[in-house]
Symmetry: C2
Subunit: 403 residues, 2 copies
DNA sequence: GACATTTGTTTGGCTACAGAACTAACTAAA
DNA sequence: TTTAGTTAGTTCTGTAGCCAAACAAATGTC
């Protein structure tokens, strides 16, 4: 697809073709099943051009004709759908105590979702590469067995990942300057598909942008609710990673110089007053990373029971969260801010207070049209987004070669 | 130019041509004088194609051949430059006590710069339209006298401007929901060029992005230092305005819940602790908007004199500013944050403390490569950016018609 | 069964790119 | 002065891929 940003790049016919192939592919994905005539009418492309593009996409096994339908006057249309069967995109998420791998087809249908426990908190990046490679090989072999071609693999890492895919710092994993993409490619020995690495919040934002209920929003922010608080930023329809890839580090926005000490050493950071740690510091100060989920379940149980101290705690966290989101909304004016991670189970007690603070602080009329929503994609959002990252590159014109 | 965002749009040959014309135009702007051969070598376009594109651009009087130069072996090259003479882009800035109009040619050379006093603080949007139309007509007639075609006019407004160019709120001007673009177009009676309206910080960011010393940065943030503090955000080479156009409202990021009351009613907003008002509250609490410049001069004089209370005040403001910029840098990871407006004369006493806070708080290694710089474009940055907005649309392929 | 309607293909024309051959204009060396 | 070498820019030819219009195919309606 021809892009205008990052410097002027000349265009030629292959760019036109790639752009239009991607246009048709995206249209079918969003409007399947549909006919060639539908595509031509909606996109403005000529019928003949659409036929040629569709033939090309069928050749590449990205589209498939279904049986005719639509009993109206005139010749019945041959309906087209995405061909789910011949391809797969793989997403892997590394975390403190597990590695998740998902594979999806072109439609985004989940083909498999494997979780494997892994002592991320005490393993080196090298050990992680070995574990990921082993898992990836199993996924690839399963996909091959299903006669699927793997289009790519993306790894989601909770940490600072630069634009080249180098993991600069992953505090919870204890990694520094790890070339995960390079090492994993090497470990997979010429895998025949691209291997990418990105930040987990960025990829979760991508998952929301492609699969979430707000997929129409060209401007959205996804906020992770883990021990760390990070954000993935989609503006004007694309992930915006900043100059070096470190955008979205909202966890250490200082909300209160008199607030509690944060693990970064400063006081009153968003993470310290509204992160999951701020809740568990009161309920389970010595919880290990692997116990987080259980502890949060316990908090939910106590909130359901109406325990006053827990409700007050959650209200406080919600207010601070709202203040942080107000900063985000004022700066970026997204259509929607999506709360993910452990914020999801806690949402019933957080969102109302957060919204109140948010709308009270956003300067733009009507809150700038910004809504605060809760992720519906669950804990696997980052892994799903990693797979979505692969599909995105298909959408932007990097189609698999013709048969 | 073919863009991939906001929905898939099909491409055809005219898009290829427009893209390549824009590529050549941009190349010549950035590398003038240069030959056709240079263009071909650097852009990757074929020599023949470049010749055809250049001929087209010369026809449209966007480029011009100069006398030959370059005494090297081989046939001497005919050097090309932007043709400054036949076009003009107009930028207008409305402010509390004046209206500024600038006109620039294609190269960005300033053709005129008129300032006209205007009681913006006490005038309605309607009265402003009348005044702007009168000024614009004079500028247009001057340009016509110079045989220049006006390519467009953009108005910079200090306030919230939505994506359609409606001024939603301009607190210092007292305006609400004013369709400035529509009314000005009407007042100019079929001007034959597009009239746009945007936020002043956005346009100043555009000016920095096109003309400033950091014009190579694809990710930059411009911060206005006026009574209000606002930001213009350029990411991945383009202005990012958010869902409704209200991005960059950083003035009311709450830095300290125990801080001084802000005019928005909350406490400790960036604007309240690091805005120009925070300085003048101590030195000239009753200054009217038109006296701001004088009062700031007075502050500069006293700082130069080494008056301790002023130095301490400025250091305090610098620290708060740095904290605010840390939030910006953490969220957006720009290559550079540029301080504008009244921060410019005060920079010698602000920047060091601000940088210290900034680098101490940015999570990314090496501060994410983010530098804090001072604008060199002066108070006219917004008006210049308004003109740049017009040139931008030429660059993106909307070329004036052939002769 | 003729006709209307809609779908999708075929044909022809056009635009604008790339590559190669060519012409032009100069320097440098014989 | 001639000749070779070098670089600039144009012309010619081929091709990709778009659009428009005509056409073929498949169905419903009268």
């Amino acid at each position: 697809m021809i892009t205008s940003h990052n410097g002027p790049q000349p265009a030629d016919f292959t760019d036109v073709r790639a752009t239009n192939l991607a246009v048709v592919l995206r249209f079918v994905r969003e409007n399947a099943p549909c006919s060639r005539a539908d595509i031509a009418a909606s996109t403005g492309l000529n019928k003949a051009t659409v036929s040629s593009l569709v033939a090309d996409l069928i050749d590449r096994r990205l589209l498939r004709e279904t049986g005719l339908t639509e009993h109206r006057v005139g010749r019945p249309a041959t309906m087209l759908v995405l061909d789910g069967s011949p391809y797969a995109a793989i997403g892997i998420e590394v975390n403190v105590d597990y590695i998740t791998a998902v594979a999806v087809d072109l439609k985004g249908e989940e083909l498999l979702n494997w979780r494997r426990s892994f002592p991320g908190g005490t393993s080196s990046a090298g050990q992680a590469v070995v574990a990921m490679a082993a898992l990836a090989r199993r996924v690839v072999s399963r996909m091959t067995k299903e006669a699927r071609q793997v289009l790519g693999l993306t790894v989601a890492v909770p940490g600072l990942v630069d634009v080249n895919g180098i993991v600069r710092v992953a505090p919870n994993l204890g990694w520094r300057d790890a070339d995960l993409a390079g090492d994993l490619t090497k470990a997979l020995r010429d895998p025949g598909f691209p291997v990418l690495v990105d930040n987990d919040a960025n990829l979760a934002a991508l998952a929301e942008h492609r699969f979430g209920p707000h997929r129409n929003a060209a401007n959205l922010v996804y906020v992770t609710g883990e021990v760390g608080v990070g954000a993935g930023i989609v503006m004007d329809g694309r992930l915006r990673r900043g100059g070096q890839g470190y955008s979205g580090e909202i966890g250490h926005i200082e909300l209160d110089p008199a607030g509690p000490t944060c693990r970064c050493g400063r006081r009153g950071c968003l993470e310290a007053v509204a992160g999951i740690g701020a809740i568990l510091a009161h309920t389970a100060p010595d919880a290990s990373p692997s116990e987080l989920e259980l502890e949060i379940d316990e908090v939910v149980r106590r909130a359901r029971n109406g325990e006053q101290d827990i409700l007050a705690l959650l209200e406080d966290v919600g207010r601070h969260l709202g203040r942080g989101m107000a900063a985000v909304a004022n700066m970026l004016n997204p259509e929607v801010v999506i709360l993910g991670g452990y914020y999801v189970p806690l949402a019933p007690w957080l969102v109302a207070c957060a919204e109140e603070e948010l709308y009270g602080r956003v300067l733009a009329p009507g809150g700038g049209g910004c809504r605060l929503e809760v992720s519906t994609l669950g804990y696997g959002a980052a892994a799903l987004g990693a797979a979505a990252r692969v599909l995105d590159s298909v959408d932007s014109g990097r189609l698999p070669a013709q048969r």
